[in-house]
Assembly symmetry: C2
Homo-oligomer: 250 residues x 2
């Protein structure tokens, strides 16, 4: 029963079949992550089935986000506990995703503001930055809310927010625009304020680092020149500021 199948491939063909490059194979070889099965007399690398399997494992672990160094450890399982590694890795990735969620939310806001209003790019850009930094405000806002209120808000808005943030921002903008003339203290406008805050909360999310940093930044601006000019120059901004002020005092 001879195995007619070709058993060994040279670098290029192997790389192609594996969906990677020769240079990558060199790299893995040099760092001891994947050594070829053998060499020709001329020193050309020869890869076999076992190599393919190992490469497959490497690709998989890379997909999951491990570094090559970690992969080397895992594949030689030198004292490394797979379960723990996976758990840690999952937490790391989830953190990254939360960050991306907030970034997406911020971008959605930017998109909304650029479409709904007709300011120059630069002005709008200024506002975008301002809004993102507004997370700082949450520090103070939090003292106005009770724990339960915050938890409630979080429960109602947080999970889906990041996903359809774009929709939400657009809708909110439309609603606010429609309510422009009304009393900022009215039930209706106050509900808009609540939604606004919730949206801000969404991409403020749970990143303590950024919140702190920008918080310091913002506080600094205020201290620096007494009343640092905040760029809410448009109607909507002014209107919402009134509404939010009332909302927070309640």
């Amino acid at each position: 029963m001879k195995t007619d199948v070709k058993a060994l491939y040279q670098a290029h063909e192997f790389a192609q079949r594996a969906g990677t490059t020769v240079r990558t194979l060199h790299h893995y070889d040099r760092m001891g992550l994947l050594k070829p099965t053998g060499y020709t007399r001329a020193g050309f690398r020869l890869y076999g089935q076992a190599d393919l399997i190992r490469l497959q494992q490497i690709v998989t672990l890379k997909f999951i986000g491990f570094s090559l160094k970690e992969i080397k450890q895992l594949l030689s399982r030198n004292g490394m506990n797979l379960v723990d590694s996976l758990a840690r890795q999952k937490q790391l990735i989830e953190e990254k995703r939360r960050h991306l969620d907030r970034a997406i939310s911020a971008l959605a806001y930017a998109e909304a503001i650029l479409k709904e209003e007709k300011r120059t790019d630069w002005d709008a850009f200024h506002d975008i930055i301002e809004v993102i930094n507004m997370q700082q405000d949450m520090k103070w806002v939090k003292s106005y809310y009770t724990e339960e209120q915050l938890a409630d808000l979080a429960k109602r808005y947080d999970p889906e927010l990041a996903r359809k943030a774009e929709q939400d921002w657009k809708q909110l903008f439309a609603d606010v625009e429609a309510a422009l003339g009304e009393d900022p203290g009215s039930e209706k406008v106050q509900q808009l304020a609540a939604r606004w805050e919730a949206l801000i909360t969404a991409f403020t999310g749970g990143d303590p680092g950024i919140r702190e940093n920008l918080g310091r930044l913002y506080a600094d601006q205020s201290n620096w020149q007494g009343d640092f000019k905040r760029p809410w120059s448009d109607e909507i901004g002014a209107f919402m500021n009134q509404a939010l002020a009332i909302y927070r005092q309640k």
Copy 2:
């Protein structure tokens, strides 16, 4: 009306207030992204309010995921269109998040398999890799589904899947285990098969690159030794394979 506020800070203090490091300021200075307002006679950097604002913008754009090079462009708005840049950036980030979602899903699966079954780490690990690569199967599976069926599955499962993948995997495992003795062709088991496929689809998601690569990898294994041994050695795996086979033929 004199402004009593200190107007200039030295590197360390400025960095601290801005929530960054001196070395970062050096870096930004050297690459021309943020030049200090002035220097002392000794050559020490002095930063002012304008610098703080600019740094704030830099931090914000970094948060959104732009590279320093891009930020430099954006802040000098040399031919760069903000709207387009933001849109592109959003797509990029969303792609990244989809990748993370699939990775998380894969890790959730790993977690589930390691908890529910009592194999050695290594064996389970082998399966994890196998499952992730199983996305390759979707290539063939797709020829069994109609477009509408796929769309339907995607609609029903895709959005929420990535979020609560862990739960879903655990639940599915429990259900499958409970149904172990039954007829693989029964309505009940077939529904489990549908769920199984849907979960696999979830982290197979929409990444054409990885799907292709691993597809090639897998196809190769099969060709290489005729019938390459697939590591579904456990009861659940064998059971589900039967059920899935029937499910796909339907």
